[in-house]
């Protein structure tokens, strides 16, 4: 994976350069932002192929939005995470074929969506167990937990992405973590997590 060649240049500045026709800015933004939206989409959807589609579509919307971007009003990454999360939500709804209320309710992902990612996943039992447990979380809890604990966003950043208050974010992540602990606890014996330390 190529490293970001210009880590000191802000996303804002790069987007302005991109809008001005700078090819190098397009390359840096691609390398910098695509991994982030892909990671979120994989955790949200549990399907690599669908996640790639979401990542590409999110980036396409970024390219189209670039000329209208007003620097300083919001973070580019926050905007992009929001677009990707909404696209994931749309796909999950279509996958289930149900309305919005049900899509945000409790429920597990279809089991046959999981193996593709898990086969590529590291052989680490913990990673696999958490991936499975995440897929069983309600969508909003999963999104908050992934953004907080896997993507490393702050609570205010997550609040901006999910367009909710900070307290709601704290509630979602706390409930999500408790649910994960319960789900992982059920598998503890078969995974031997305690023995692995």
């Amino acid at each position: 994976m190529p490293l970001d060649a210009n880590p000191e240049i802000s996303d804002d500045a790069l987007l302005a350069q991109y809008a001005g026709g700078d090819r190098a800015a397009a390359r840096i933004l691609t390398l910098r932002l695509t991994p982030r939206v892909l990671a979120l989409a994989v955790r949200m959807l549990g399907d690599r192929s669908e996640a790639e589609d979401v990542a590409q579509e999110s980036m396409l919307r970024l390219w189209k939005m670039a000329p209208d971007w007003r620097p300083g009003e919001a973070q580019v990454s926050t905007w992009l995470y929001r677009v990707a999360a909404n696209l994931c939500t749309d796909r999950l709804r279509r996958r289930r074929g149900v309305g919005i209320e049900e899509a945000f309710g409790e429920g597990a992902e279809p089991a046959d969506e999981q193996p593709a990612v898990e086969e590529r996943m590291h052989a680490d039992g913990r990673a696999r167990a958490l991936h499975q447990a995440l897929s069983e979380l309600p969508e909003r809890q999963r999104q908050a937990v992934v953004l907080r604990h896997l993507e490393g966003l702050s609570n205010p950043e997550i609040a901006a992405v999910m367009e909710i208050g900070i307290e709601a974010v704290e509630s979602l992540t706390a409930r999500g973590k408790r649910a994960l602990v319960a789900l992982l606890g059920r598998r503890r014996a078969e995974l031997g997590l305690s023995d692995d330390g």
Binding site: R27, L29, P35, A55, D124, R178, S194
Partner: protein, 127 residues
């Protein structure tokens, strides 16, 4: 609210997060190429539809010149005009012979005749 997570469970969960972060899915070169191609295409599309500089406004003189037939036609017209003025001021002898033959009058301006016609003293005396 349910019970808080124990320290041991918290540590286990953190270890799971750590493991999953390490197993993060990275984009393939093909995906990066597709994303970049989209980015370039959007830049190219915007360049193609960027509004061109407005054409300068054409003045009435320019329009008139074009209506006549452009600068060459205007040059010909100017030459013809100058020739006409010159002929009027100093007609060639052959032209005068022609008018004398046809009209029994000289083409040229007869100063003596004009002077006699416009002799105000005579007009007043007659009057």
């Amino acid at each position: 609210m349910t019970a808080e997570i124990s320290k041991d469970m918290e540590r286990e969960l953190d270890a799971c997060f750590e493991a999953l972060r390490a197993a993060r899915e990275e984009p393939s070169p093909e995906l990066l190429a597709r994303v970049l191609a989209d980015g370039y295409a959007e830049q190219d599309a915007r360049t193609a539809v960027a509004p061109a500089a407005p054409a300068p406004r054409r003045g009435w003189l320019r329009n008139l010149i074009d209506m006549i037939g452009g600068w060459p036609a205007l040059a010909g017209l100017a030459t013809a005009t100058l020739a006409g003025v010159w002929i009027g001021y100093n007609p060639p002898a052959a032209f005068d012979s022609l008018t004398l033959a046809l009209l029994n009058e000289s083409y040229g301006y007869d100063v003596g005749l004009s002077a006699s016609i416009l002799d105000l003293d005579e007009v007043q005396a007659d009057g």
